[in-house]
């Protein structure tokens, strides 16, 4: 019988893998370089436009002022408390929406007939913009965490649910037949076949939901006045502290980027076996 593997082959595979990794790293570095160059250009522009008097400094302070204001704000505990409030609403809402959507999606997708029964309801509820629930949230919870949560959960839930439904539908028919012939119970099939198949979709859903959830958390605070970054922006705006408004907007943007990067990192770790991630083999 032919033996496969062996040290020579392993080392060849390892070095191929290492070189693929190196080239992936190099391209990531290049991307980072381009990104930084672009960011530098934007900062220079934002510095120049008010300084040259193209826009009134009262409406758009120079970038350097915004950044120093941000640094100053970051030294105050109040900002960190506000950020903590926002992130709490975001994380709780996202977690709740995620769990509910995954359970609902798996059940709807695997119980025969349930998908057809629920699809019209889903299609009706999904397009309702979360922001349209602001009056309802105000009525139910007032300016509190509850309002933030309601908007966040509603927005994030559909993002995840839709992806889970796609994911469950993507189960390979031969793999499914295999699971059936080898006597896998319904629970084992969900755990060993349906869930791993759906996982790439679930991670996409999570990534979309994380971003949307953050947007909605800030929105709820801005509009309803629940405590958090959004409320701080609102306060700064009404007291005419324009640089602070900009500093907080920048901070919100940075948090948004961090959220996205975090989920992407998680995605790569969870999906190491998946074609979109296992770049070494394709190389």
């Amino acid at each position: 019988m032919t033996r496969t593997g062996g040290p020579a082959r392993d080392s060849a595979r390892d070095s191929a893998r290492a070189s693929a990794r190196d080239s992936a790293r190099a391209s990531a570095r290049a991307r980072l370089g381009h990104g930084l160059a672009g960011l530098g250009g934007l900062l220079a522009l934002m510095e120049a436009v008010p300084r040259l008097g193209l826009v009134d400094e009262r409406f758009l302070p120079p970038a350097s002022r915004i950044l120093t204001t941000l640094a100053g704000e970051l030294a105050t505990p109040a900002l960190w408390i506000a950020l903590g409030e926002t992130m709490r609403g975001w994380a709780l809402g996202l977690a709740l929406a995620f769990c509910a959507a995954v359970v609902a999606g798996v059940v709807i997708g695997t119980v025969p007939g349930l998908r057809a029964m629920t699809s019209s309801t889903v299609e009706f509820l999904r397009p309702i913009p979360s922001v349209a629930l602001v009056p309802l949230a105000t009525l139910l919870f007032g300016p509190s965490l509850g309002s933030t949560m309601l908007l966040v959960v509603y927005a994030a839930f559909w993002q995840v649910l839709i992806q889970v439904l796609y994911g469950v539908a993507a189960v390979d028919s031969v793999a499914h037949d295999t699971a059936r012939t080898y006597g896998l119970s319904a629970w084992s099939r969900v755990r060993h076949l349906v869930w791993p198949t759906a996982l790439p979709y679930v991670m996409t859903g999570l990534r979309l939901a994380a971003t949307v959830a953050f947007i909605l958390a800030v929105t709820a605070e801005l509009v309803i006045g629940s405590p958090g970054l959004g409320a701080e922006i609102q306060v700064a705006q009404s007291s005419g502290a324009v640089p602070v408004v900009y500093a907080l907007i920048v901070l919100a943007g940075l948090v948004g980027i961090a959220v996205n990067a975090g989920v992407r990192l998680l995605e790569r770790r969870v999906l190491a076996w998946h074609p979109a991630v296992r770049s070494e083999v394709a190389a």
């Binding site: 032919t2 496969t4 037949d177 295999t178 012939t181 080898y182 119970s185 083999v281």
Partner: protein, 256 residues
Amino acid sequence: MLEISALNKAYQSPGRRVEAIRSITLGVGAGELVCVVGPSGCGKTTLLRCVAGLLPASGGEVRLDGVPVTGPPPRMAVVFQEYGRSLFPWMTVRQNVELPLKEKRVPAARRRELVTGSLEAVGLADAADAHPWQLSGGMQQRVAIARAVAYEPQVLLMDEPFAAVDAQTRADLEDLILRLWRDLEVTTLFVTHDIDEAVYLGQRVIVLSSSPTEVMEDLKIDLPPGRDQLTTRSLPRFGELRGHVYRQIQRARGER
């Protein structure tokens, strides 16, 4: 043991009806090894899927130990023609082979023994910790075979299981199946498009006609039971049987 009586299967889709199997009647005794050959598209896979309880028959029935098959019966293993898709890419080779055993609640020590033994038997002991997508097509096919072997089935259904391996590996795997079948007395239904292989492995060879599919011939292979790649294949009787099956398949194709 396995009785297939007047089995009929038509695939029904809107505006199209394909009668994959007209009528197949066929019995496989306990511990028998029966090979099925027939032209491509004649419904061999369909037959196997009906026997495995994965596809409801349109007419007739399949019985296993006298019990009508309505869903996948326990203690039956299937090696699918689409072997690549039947492996779970998120599991290593070892985990793929082990999963059905865990489900059967085989104790851990015995499980390890079975997994290691079957992977060794198909020559993949070194690849146990690789993922299926890191393997070649032939290696994947052997993983699927190892999984079926480790399961210790009573009935084994195989759909062109050696299509993607080289001639030498193929000969080794043929002997593995023969050994397994003899040692464990597994009732085996083996689909192949290779006439030599069918005659070499089978106690009987079923020749299917082209569609509309019926059993064209149920041929008893009267070769000595201890088969050997060199001596068996060079017997004059082997050549006669092979020639006979070959002519039958030519006839089946010609009637299309």
